[in-house]
Symmetry: C2
Subunit: 194 residues, 2 copies
């Protein structure tokens, strides 16, 4: 067998961990259960990840790296502010709906000791994906297109509803279709525009 199969095992572990954590939360996904679902011995996980925390952190970074390009696909900084916002918002919401496991994992992650630390990092040096939104908001405020709120409130007014709607869809309280997705993001825009 070749080097490729090593990766197979590693990826099996990552997949199993994502599934179980998304479905049952961090504390409902013991290492033994992850190992079982990955068809791997319990000890094998520790050949690839130092411990559970490292596994989870890597899972999170995997996700961010995976989402970023999907959401930015077709994004152009030249288009009007509103159009760019709708693009990002709908792309994000679509991603969440099409990848419910990813969404559920992210939610678990943000409501955990990890999440708090991670937020602190983002305060100091904002990382990766948020920059796009930050730029968009700052430009929108400067051009007087957006309400003059602290950035963090604009974030909340935009992502708060998107996350809530995605959660409701995944839990089956609404059925979102393409039209509803766009309308929802447009409603968010109405909330932040002047």
């Amino acid at each position: 067998m070749s080097k490729h199969d090593k990766h197979d095992k590693r990826e099996e572990i990552v997949r199993a961990a994502l599934e179980l954590i998304a479905e049952h939360g961090f504390h409902g996904a013991p290492m033994a259960m992850i190992a079982e679902r990955a068809n791997v011995g319990a000890g094998t996980i520790y050949r690839y990840f130092e411990n559970k925390d490292v596994l989870i952190a890597e899972l999170y970074q995997n996700l961010e790296a995976k989402m970023y390009p999907v959401i930015l696909e077709g994004y152009s900084a030249d288009k009007p502010t509103r159009e760019r916002f709708i693009h990002l918002g709908t792309a994000l919401l679509r991603y969440f709906i099409e990848n419910p496991l990813d969404f559920r994992f992210l939610e678990q992650f943000h409501n955990s000791p990890f999440g708090a630390e991670h937020r602190r990092d983002k305060i100091l040096g904002v990382k990766d994906g948020c920059d796009v939104f930050r730029e968009l908001f700052e430009e929108g405020i400067a051009r007087q297109i957006l309400k003059e709120f602290p950035l963090s409130i604009l974030f909340s007014l935009s992502f708060g509803p998107l996350a809530a709607v995605a959660r409701d869809h995944i839990l089956g309280f609404v059925v979102l279709n393409e039209v509803l997705i766009v309308w929802t993001v447009e409603a968010c825009w109405d909330g932040i525009k002047r």
Copy 2:
């Protein structure tokens, strides 16, 4: 000692549990630690609560019962839709900011096995506090004041941002004052109004 002191112990347990769970989450608040902070033997908790789950569930119901009248104080079904929405929204946000422990506990609760079950209950027979919002939204749609969205999306567009803003305030990412609170809720209104 009189009957009153029994209540004192019970309330000490409830207070300690709320503090620790709000601060460290369900799994960072072992029964032994709750007992210690309540100045009570570990076994004493079980004189008042069958087990940890029951303690948590009762904590949650305490909170709901405590919040409901505070938020409805001064609420009048006669006033215009917008005014009523602003009243409820600002009251809720103010409550969260003034009672950060309550807010953090509610967040922990909603991101847990309990939360999911509880949501299912609310689907069938909507309980207590949500009725006010439900009425408000249904009336707003009927009068063509609000966008014609599924109720659950209107909920998300309203509470999503409020929860996110409250979280940011409590974690120190924004400092909300009375003006910002009102502006934020008005922005939510802009999101749901036609």
